[in-house]
């Protein structure tokens, strides 16, 4: 299927647009749609969702007619997973563990996203970044965040 390979990038991009467009359009049906005079909260998202799905179909169609054909290239899954994990870890633990724990864990996960970084190196980087962040955000910018969270009995 040479056509599919040539159109793959557009096919996937268009697919994302169609899926998200339809998701928003379907979701907007839960809200009052209303009329142009009295638009309900669902009116604009419904129109935009359908428009996005339409544009997605165009992207797919264009891919088959004149696909760019460039390969998508490798995806570094380790980096994708670990960096996402780092951000989620921070958000989930910043209250419970406190700023120090959340920063250290997030920095450690992030540092490990690069496969050439050794575990020891990552620990050193994470410790350094935690210290630097506390100095910048808590000491210098005076953000009122608890250094030690509620999960840790003092």
């Amino acid at each position: 299927m040479p056509e599919v390979r040539r159109a793959l990038k557009d096919l996937l991009a268009g697919g994302i647009f169609v899926a998200l467009g339809l998701a928003f359009a379907l979701g907007s049906l839960d809200y009052e749609i209303g009329s142009p005079l009295r638009m309900g909260p669902g009116y604009v998202p419904l129109v935009l969702g359908l428009l996005l799905a339409g544009l997605g179909v165009l992207v797919i169609g264009k891919g088959f007619i004149a696909g760019e054909g460039e390969p998508i290239g490798e995806v570094d899954w380790r980096a994708v997973i670990l960096i996402t994990a780092a951000l989620l870890f921070f958000g989930l633990t910043v209250r419970g563990l406190g700023v120090i724990g959340a920063l250290f864990g997030a920095a450690l996960l992030a540092a490990l996203a690069r496969s050439a970084t050794s575990a020891l190196e990552a620990v050193v980087i994470a410790a350094g970044l935690t210290l630097l962040s506390v100095v910048i955000f808590i000491v210098a910018l005076q953000l009122r965040l608890p250094l030690i969270g509620t999960w840790i009995p003092v």
Binding site: L48, V59, L87, L103, A110, A113, I125
Partner: protein, 502 residues
């Protein structure tokens, strides 16, 4: 004479010790982060935004503007020293600037960029002073129908002037508009697409979208193939250009400044277009065409001037129409709103101290840039040498804690991860992230004006074409789409973006 009074007000605002200090901090901080390779101005500003939120509105905006042109200038430094431009407009500077650095003339190249930026910044500030007030007066007559059409034109024109697939860019705008609808509906208070999560009622934060799409996505791309960075640091001696250099750069700086000032007002990639255009013009006019690509000083002077003039005049549509022409201005718009000020024609009248203070501070900031950056070049070079294995985790934790601090809301941090992944996927599939951010920031505005205009017209959609200004704006939007899609013009557009880089 009204003008002199306004400038006086601006001077007294911009020169107050506090504002002067934060302008200076902004410029230095912006340059420091902008110098870091792989972080463009958009990501820089998004990451540093939280730092400014505790300040007074005027001071915060002055500092942000300082961060902006600091980041712009820092990007050129990186482009010249390691040939790794942070964003597309600095790519032109990298061509000959990096060659100059390799020939041992990094000093004069950096000095030329600084001088060109200062001249351009000064001229562009005057352009803002002269053109912003009349434009705002016109915009004051606009009703909701006109503003709706204006936003549509702005969004579509930003696509027509950018590179890449037009359909994909249009889809990215609509996707951005849709993400902008998340949160409570302004008219009924109904929470939309929040999945019952209270933290999402206020909507997705624009800082999360910007940091995700421009910061995290970029890191993921950099980690795919770690580029070897070769730093040219050996020969940064003899900073000052020679008399011959000065003679050669005078006219190019003037031409670049004029071109940049004009193109900066355009929505979309005005500054990119300006720097590419300036390069083409200099090459065409030069008697030493063979030097271009091998370290011609004109090819640094003119694009840098054009780039900086455009960066400055792109404030005009934001300050007078409330319309951000590119992602950085979209972030500025978000910053204005956080401080309780809606950018638009009313700012000049309602907040004269803020408006004129900001404008004058732009000139002050440019002065700081030229005075500070050359002596501090040693520090910037040291920042360049921070290894990427330390740099990217630092960006991630700073982004996390900075965004969390905005409202002590962990969902702002989760949103970074979401938009980082989405941005990474879409960029890999050939979609530019800029239109999404513009759509996201302008979405609520667009919906508000649409609904208001239709209430005024009693639900009659023809209001957008029967009101003359609105009709003209929409016609221009249609024209912009045609320009982008028609094959003949499209090919020429590709040429403008490609010819000099290959």
């Amino acid at each position: 004479m009204e003008l002199l009074g306004n400038l006086g007000l601006g001077l007294s605002t911009a020169l107050s010790p506090e504002n002067l200090l934060f302008c200076l901090i902004g410029v230095v901080l912006g340059t420091a982060v902008g110098v870091l390779p792989g972080i463009g101005p958009t990501a820089t500003i998004a990451m540093l935004l939280p730092v400014t939120f505790t300040l007074e509105p005027v001071t915060a905006l002055i500092m942000l503007a300082g961060i902006y042109y600091g980041a712009q200038y820092g990007g050129s430094t990186t482009a010249i020293l390691i040939n790794l431009p942070g964003e597309s407009s600095a790519a032109v500077t990298a061509i000959d600037g990096h060659e100059m650095a390799r020939n041992g003339r990094a000093g004069p190249a950096l000095a030329t960029a600084a001088i060109g930026s200062f001249v351009a910044g000064t001229f562009a500030t005057i352009v803002i002073v002269l053109f912003a007030p009349p434009l705002a007066r016109i915009a004051l007559t606009f009703g909701s129908a006109e503003f709706f059409s204006l936003v549509v034109l702005g969004l579509i024109a930003s696509v027509a002037l950018a590179r890449g697939s037009t359909v994909k860019a249009l889809a990215m705008i609509v996707l951005g508009l849709l993400f902008g609808t998340i949160g409570q509906d302004i008219y009924t208070g109904t929470p939309r697409f929040t999945f019952g999560v209270r933290e999402l009622f206020e909507g997705v934060n624009f800082v999360s979208v910007a940091v995700g799409m421009f910061g995290i996505a970029e890191i993921l791309r950099n980690l795919e193939d770690e580029r070897t960075r070769k730093l040219v640091s050996k020969a940064i001696s003899g900073l000052w250009p020679t008399r011959e250099d000065f003679r050669r750069i005078a006219a190019p700086i003037a031409r670049g400044t004029l071109l940049g000032s004009a193109l900066g007002i355009l929505p979309g990639a005005g500054h990119v277009l300006a720097s590419f255009g300036a390069y083409s013009i200099e090459k065409r006019l030069s008697k030493r065409k063979e030097e271009f690509g091998h370290g011609a000083i004109e090819a640094v002077a003119s694009p840098e001037a054009a780039n900086n003039a455009a960066a400055q005049t792109s404030f005009i549509p934001l300050l007078t129409l409330g319309l951000p022409p590119h992602p950085v201005m979209a972030l500025m718009l978000g910053a204005f709103i956080i401080h309780g000020i809606t950018p638009g024609p009313n700012v000049i009248n309602d907040e004269p101290a803020l408006f004129w203070g900001l404008v004058v501070s732009m000139w002050v900031g440019n002065l700081f840039l030229v005075l500070l950056n050359l002596p501090l070049i040693g520090i910037w070079v040291r920042m360049l040498m921070i290894p990427y294995r330390i740099l990217f985790p630092a960006i991630i934790v700073f982004a996390a804690i900075g965004t969390f601090s905005l409202g002590l809301n962990a969902w702002h941090v989760f949103a970074i991860a979401f938009f980082g992944l989405l941005g990474y996927a879409l960029i890999k599939l050939g979609c530019e992230p800029a239109p999404l951010l513009l759509g996201f920031v302008l979405g609520p505005l667009l919906e508000d004006h649409l609904r208001r205009a239709l209430i005024i017209s009693r639900g009659d959609l023809s209001i957008f074409v029967t009101r003359p200004i609105s009709a003209v704006l929409l016609a221009m939007a249609v024209g912009a789409i045609l320009i982008a899609v028609l094959p003949a013009i499209r090919r020429r557009r590709e040429v403008v973006f490609k010819e000099e880089v290959d």
